[in-house]
């Protein structure tokens, strides 16, 4: 009896140890970018493009040359597309390390389709919600194809993601994660995501695309994006060129801060935005009066920088107010948070109120350092 029991226990060991449904890591495909396009032809609404690294090309004993594979299909949804594609691949997809989601331009113009895609990704248990969103200028599939052969240092994460990850260098685009995109839309109805384009074998991330209620409505240029970033206080570093007397001076922003203040004039509300930038003088000109002991010159340069920035910001705000009626600079959010009573009155037709509103801009620039020469 006892022996039989022991025997049963021993045999059961064979069956109950280990994970019977485990998947080895090299038997999974880890896509890092997915592109979604609108299918221009009849039938399924989407074209899903998945780009994933070839793990056999990484490391010292690489056996294969090609580093990235791109594969695409038409589908009725992102996940349906993924399961269709897996019939063409040896291993199943595993989306945990998905980094970049590219929306094609035609798709971006269809708000309800964008909503569907984002809902699927947001609902999924596996996908990391830090996935970066970008909007392609053209087809997302073309962009992903171009990204494979982009003339750049090859990185495991893929060139697109490494470019987006490092948005600290420049505010010419602002990387947008899924969570932040949804939060911005919730707060003010609009959000921006960076715009990407491919020119031949080169890909470029620049400016932004404005999405109103998840529908693409227009572009922001690089400088406009910088203005928006300045107002939102999201700038970490940037370099601008400003005409000063008869030369251009280069000014590198090392720190920026923005404050908003509500001004009530009777029934009208206005906003005063005060932007403060700190930075270093990067380039001036030899032989002119030396910066040296003369604080006055720096003061004058500061004034020039202030003027240039102010002009740029006002131009951007004008465009946002009149052309797009899109409050991407977070004024609604500011009123909602700090003046909730006023927000209750204006929230119902905020877009119109925003486009009519007085927005004053005040820029203060400081040149804290002047480099190595006098």
């Amino acid at each position: 009896m006892k022996r039989a029991l022991i025997l049963i226990l021993l045999i059961s060991l064979v069956f109950i140890t280990g994970c019977w449904d485990m998947v080895e890591i090299n038997q999974r495909i880890f896509p890092y970018s997915i592109g979604i396009d609108l299918n221009p032809e009849e039938g399924d609404p989407y074209i899903i493009t998945v780009s994933f690294p070839n793990i056999y090309s990484i490391g010292k004993n690489a056996t294969q040359e090609e580093r990235i594979f791109v594969i695409s299909t038409t589908a009725t949804s992102l996940f349906e597309g993924a399961s269709q594609l897996s019939t063409r691949l040896q291993y199943p997809f595993y989306f945990k390390h998905l980094r970049v989601l590219v929306l094609g331009q035609e798709l971006a113009k269809k708000g309800h389709l964008v909503k569907q895609v984002l809902d699927g990704i947001n609902r999924d248990y596996v996908i990391n919600k830090k996935v970066r969103l970008v909007a392609a200028e053209g087809m997302a599939s073309d962009l992903l194809q171009a990204a494979t052969s982009a003339i750049r240092q090859q990185v495991i994460e893929g060139p697109l993601f490494s470019m987006l990850k490092d948005d600290r260098r420049t505010p010419r685009f602002t990387a947008q994660t899924l969570t932040d995109f949804i939060r911005d839309t919730d707060m003010s109805g609009v959000a921006i995501m960076p715009r990407v384009a491919n020119h031949g074998n080169d890909i470029k991330v620049f400016g932004g695309c404005i999405f109103k209620d998840y529908e693409f409505i227009g572009y922001l240029g690089e400088l406009e994006n910088m203005s928006v970033a300045l107002i939102r206080g999201k700038i970490k570093e940037d370099l601008i060129d400003v005409p000063f007397e008869d030369v251009n001076i280069s000014y590198s922003i090392t720190n920026a801060d923005a404050n908003k203040e509500l001004i009530k004039k009777g029934n009208n509300i206005g906003i005063k935005i005060s932007v403060e930038v700190e930075g270093t003088l990067k380039e001036y000109i030899f032989e002119k009066e030396t910066v040296g002991r003369d604080d006055n010159l720096l003061r004058r340069m500061e004034k020039a920088i202030e003027r240039a920035l102010k002009e740029e910001i006002e131009k951007t705000i004008e465009k946002l107010q009149k052309e797009y009626k899109a409050d991407v600079i977070g004024i609604g959010e500011y009123i909602y948070k700090f003046h909730p009573k006023i927000w209750k009155e204006v929230s119902s037709d905020w877009d119109d109120i925003f486009s009519e509103m007085d927005i004053d801009v005040e820029v203060t620039a400081y040149i804290r350092r002047r480099g190595l020469v006098e």
Binding site: N128, K130, T179, I182, D186, K337, F338, P340
Partner: protein
Amino acid sequence: MGEENKLSSKQIKALIVSSEIGIGILTLPNRIAITNENDGWIPIILAGLIIIPIIFIMDRIFRMYPDKDFFDIGREVLGKWIFNTFLIFFLIYFIILMSNIMRNLGELIKAFLLETTPIEVIIISFIFATSYIARDNIQVIGRAAYFIYPLILGFVIFLFLVTLPEIDFTNVLPAFQSDFSKIPKGMEQAFFSYIGFEILLFAFPSAEKKEDSLKTAMAGQGIVIVIYTIIFLLTLAQYGVHSLKRQIFPTLSLVKEVDLPGFFVENLDGLVMAFWVLVIFTTMACFYFASGMVLANLFNTRDHAFYIVPIAPIVYVVSMIPRNVLILNETLGKYTNYLGFVTIILMPIIIYIVALFKSRRQAK
């Protein structure tokens, strides 16, 4: 060192923290945000404060009748029949509560960790794992809780530190703008997350230092209030109120947002789930042990261990009844709340009041 079979003050604190923190910590911010928006921290704190007088009353009861356990006191004060009816309520409450926890745990583990494992296997193996500890005394559970307790604190501190760099605390604003008439509703929601302090009914009699036990129990309750408030504010600051209303498991989603530059620290949800299973283990052990004790007293048996295994299939069957997660919260979640209100709030109060009257009459 104190006696072998007594609960130290630290263990009581650990017991209350780890039995209260369970399923609630994952879903609480979302539910509170739906009812109370940005002011969710008010009902969280209020609901937590309401429990402190109950703890006080429990302690009073045990001081009136030193050296007796909860069942003896109840029978003496309320009489056999009334008290037994309460005990039956108590038992139903424990079983529904355990089923609720088990189903939630099963659904979450299946979704986040073991995608292809059947939920039945997860639930059954978890019930049997807890039944092992539930057969032991409260002291053993106290020691287990003491082991889990630093994990809980560590998790909250860790979450706070890693989310801090990217969080925007202005999202907590605007304050005091929600509809205050909804605060009771929010408190009802928050109350479920504080369920678990009834373990004190079993823990107080075996406390090592009876004088200190009230103080430590309240400290434990205070820690839980602080933890819930921090978690709520963190998730609110990360998501903003609109998105928070949409996140079913905001605490887990918050972990998913962690992306420390330069480290390979990301996608921590699997790790956190594994921690969380340990937390649920002590929560579950407390209720399992308590339901065994209740059954043993209903049938006048000395040893509760005998009843532990028969409870397992009941919990399993009840936990599998709801068709989906929504109905799970609609039915089991609601029943736990109502039954919990009757048993763990009304019963101690009634026992206390009756005991007061009796002792006054005796004094006369």
